[in-house]
Amino acid sequence: MKKTSDFEFNDMQGLLRFGYGGLTDTCFMLLDVVNVEMAREWFATAPVSSGIKASSLPDTAMQIAFSKEGLSALEISKTIIEGFSDEFIYGMVRSSNCSRRLGDVGRNVPKSWKWGNGTVPHVLLLLYAKQGGIDAWRETVEDELFKKAFRLIRLLPTTDTGDNRMEPFGFEDGISQPTIDWTLRQSTDSHERDRYSNLLAAGEMVLGYKNEYGQYTERPLIDPAKDPLAEHLPNAEDDPTLKDFARNGTYLILRELGQDVSGFWQFLDKVSDSEPDKREKLAASMVGRERDGTPLIAEHIPGVSRKDHGNNFTYDLDANGMHCPISAHVRRANPRTGDLPPGATGFVSQLIRILGFGQKNHDADLVASSRFHRILRRGRSYGPTLFPEEAIQPNAPIAERGLQFICLAANISRQFEFVQNSWIINSKFGGLQQESDPLLGDREPLLSGENTDQFNHFDPLGAKQKVCHLPNFVTVHGGGYFFMPGLRALKYISSLTTKGSHNES
């Protein structure tokens, strides 16, 4: 495969390729299937947007994903469901261990979620429209058949964004995204990928393709001899005798995150002695970017201007976090590390590093290589805009604000759960102490009693500035794992029949 156009975009839902940023209005629905036959009938003609690039921006878009409960409700065979990963099958609330790892403890405990604790709604329907067009689009979608087939479990709040790319705290969002190697030309061999690169193997984001290990992620494969309906599914690349149910599909991870915007800015204002400059600087060091998205790291990738976009930098020259604190949110979420610690120039220095030597800094090489832990973010924020200047006022208007965090990944455990656990929640990330993510941390102390609610940064003289007793700025209100199928797989789902299982027909 050499050209971008060779990729099976026509079989892939568009969200894998586009953020639909131009479609500013959204309606995200969690549905339960109440009539299986009718639901299938509806899916059969649902105008799901594919990954093909249109010549002009479409007026609307629709994306569909299923929870495991949804696949079961639609009578997908047990063997197919068992082919998915444990994380998908057993869910985001599968065990107290999982909740501990994801930081779903304390105020975030699933017991207090608005949805997703226990069973997850069957279907996640994402509707997008141009400004002002969402109501009409929703009306079109919710036809008679739809109303008979589904029951609305929860309408996830979203706010039409307009031109606003700000998340509720007031920072430009969605800057760091992996570039997917649609032409499948980049090597995944570690010996050619010492340094951080934003170009990512398609298999990290889309099931059925080679991932960064050059391997195919686990997924349901079907023997077409036993299941004639599978005939129209794509072949499995790693075993052409089998059909690949998940090819061109991916996992969609959804978390409803409430953001306490006035709590955030008021806390910052308090610890900055109400000095706007100081407050702004502290906020930027917590996030790891200024509010307009400018990174705190001076550009040093040769030949690329810092103004190009906020992505051409690594933290290699800022190992101690003097410029961008190690705990800064964007540094945790994507530490921009390569396979080897920086400085390897030739075979010998590579070998020295592989053996663990040649590190100038004691805290070097504590963070895993980034390319195995990337996610594609597709979230949308909700709630009325509240600017920091208003937010610090004691009478700041109260409203529900937050983010419908959506990300796509082929391996929930290695990508989303790893990032959330080892990088975001971990109070020992990169050799830190007592610090969790300044925005997302759950603030629960360790079992030993050690705090995790601090944030440290350095002033220009190198003196450590400690901010203690960070309150919760973000609270989890719900979440679930979904499978966003390729379009042929969606066709397969809609063509199942209840009487006489497809296995026997």
């Binding site: 050059g214 290695r414 102490q433 360790l446 450590k464 400690k466």
Partner: protein, 434 residues
């Protein structure tokens, strides 16, 4: 310097007593799999030389896998292992253990074979059932529990004090800041709230043995090198043949199994890991495995004893032990972070090292030339290691909440107290740690 040593008391569980034993051990825990340090059976908190300890019931859940090689599984009965890592020699610890926990030890080991409570010298019995690791890793040779605890207090004292004075000091005048901290340390020492003990002298006998080992292993290899050189092409040929023909077992572990294991994980910043499986059949694999472990032990003992095992800085202690007359192998480690991150480190940072050792074990993903592929076959690797992992009944860590990186940092803070930094940049670097 006080060198560390290990113990691993192993005994077969009596027929019909497995459940009773498991319940008894479970009663030692405060939370799933984690010992209450003050439990009545083995009051771990009393042993100030004990770093980590665990009780694990070794069961051969994956014994059938060797059938893929056309070999019938050997019988294996559930075996209780009590293992740990201590400062000083094993004998002294075991004696201390007996004097503090004799009734508890008897209650536990009475579920095992050839243990009769009457007329038994329990210390002798423990020693007779103690097996030695084939390779052993200590994160920081000579760092004692006592030192770790003293340095925790030092770090907390300095950290608190620095915060108190942060607003009143002139950060341009960094030497004065240091002086204030040093004076505070002296004051706290004087008040008896802080102790920084000097290291004990290194035992002579240990020094001599260590020197013999340091020189002996390379010397023997040097003497054997002509033979090894001649054998090398045959070794390579045979290796490639086996790598092509050895079955790769791509079996997903059951979720029930994963649930049991994960229920014990991620309570603290560190976790335990115990894994048990078969050595691949044939003398070639066994000798290769043994040879690699001799090298592993050598490098761990003499080179990787200062906070890192190749690129991994998150392992506190680890050991490899042959069991069942060299037919089976047991691996145990204490590591920081989640299981997922531990495995990703294994794959991405030291995959080559893991491949060298465990490619000789049944179920390990196919390697090429012993170092390539293997662990990098992500799913096959993650499946096999989880499948072969066994739950730990009781686990004890002497310093909860602290990672190996924390411990190393605390030691560096202490060094900064004892050895004056040469310039302002070094002082700032030191202050950054606090």
């Amino acid at each position: 310097m006080t060198p560390q040593s290990t113990f691993m008391i192993v005994a077969t569980v009596n027929v019909g007593q497995l459940k009773k034993l498991r319940d008894l051990l479970g009663a030692m825990n405060k939370i799933p799999g984690h010992a209450d340090p003050e439990n009545a059976l083995i009051p771990f908190y009393k042993f100030d030389q004990l770093h980590f300890a665990r009780f694990v019931i070794i069961e051969a859940n994956t014994a059938h896998e060797i059938r893929e090689f056309g070999v019938n599984p050997r019988p294996w009965r559930p075996t209780l292992a009590f293992l740990g890592d201590v400062d000083g020699d094993t004998h002294t610890f075991l004696a201390d253990l007996v004097s503090n926990a004799e009734p508890g030890l008897k209650a536990i080991f009475s579920h095992c074979e050839d243990f009769s409570e009457e007329n038994l010298d329990i210390l002798q019995w423990l020693q007779a059932h103690d097996i030695r690791p084939n390779a052993n890793y200590v994160n920081w040779l000579g760092r004692t529990v006592k030192q770790i605890r003293e340095e925790i207090v030092l770090h907390q004292t300095l950290s608190r004090y620095l915060q108190e004075i942060a607003h009143d000091v002139d950060w341009e005048d960094i030497r004065t800041v240091r002086q204030k901290l040093l004076s505070h340390v002296e004051m706290e020492k004087h008040k008896g709230r802080l102790t920084l003990s000097l290291p004990e002298p290194t035992p002579r006998e240990w020094k001599i043995r260590n020197l013999f080992h340091l020189l002996g292993v390379p010397l023997i290899l040097l003497i054997l090198s002509p033979l090894l050189l001649i054998a090398l092409p045959f070794f390579a040929l045979r290796l490639r043949m086996l790598e092509r023909s050895d079955p790769e077992l791509f079996i997903r572990p059951s979720y029930e199994h994963v649930k049991v294991l994960s229920a014990q994980e991620d309570w603290d910043v560190s976790n335990q890991y115990s894994v048990f499986g078969d050595v691949k059949p044939g003398l070639f694999r066994l000798l290769t495995f043994k040879f690699i472990l001799i090298l592993t032990d050598y490098f761990a003992r003499h080179i990787y004893n200062r906070g890192f095992l190749a690129r991994i800085k998150t392992i506190h202690f680890a050991r490899w032990v042959f069991m069942d007359n060299n037919h089976r192998v047991f691996f145990a480690s204490n590591y920081d972070g989640s299981h997922e991150s531990y495995m990703d480190d294994f794959i991405n940072k030291v995959g080559w090292g893991l491949n060298l050792t465990f490619s000789n074990a049944v179920g390990y993903p196919t390697t090429t030339w012993m170092i390539k592929e293997g662990a990098q076959r992500e799913h096959a690797f993650k499946y096999t290691q989880r499948r072969h992992q066994i739950p730990t009944e009781v686990w004890y860590k002497a310093y909860p909440g602290l990672t190996a990186v924390d411990l190393a940092r605390n030691s560096r803070i202490r060094q900064g107290i004892e050895v004056r930094q040469e310039n302002d940049a070094e002082i700032r670097e030191w202050l950054r740690l606090i």
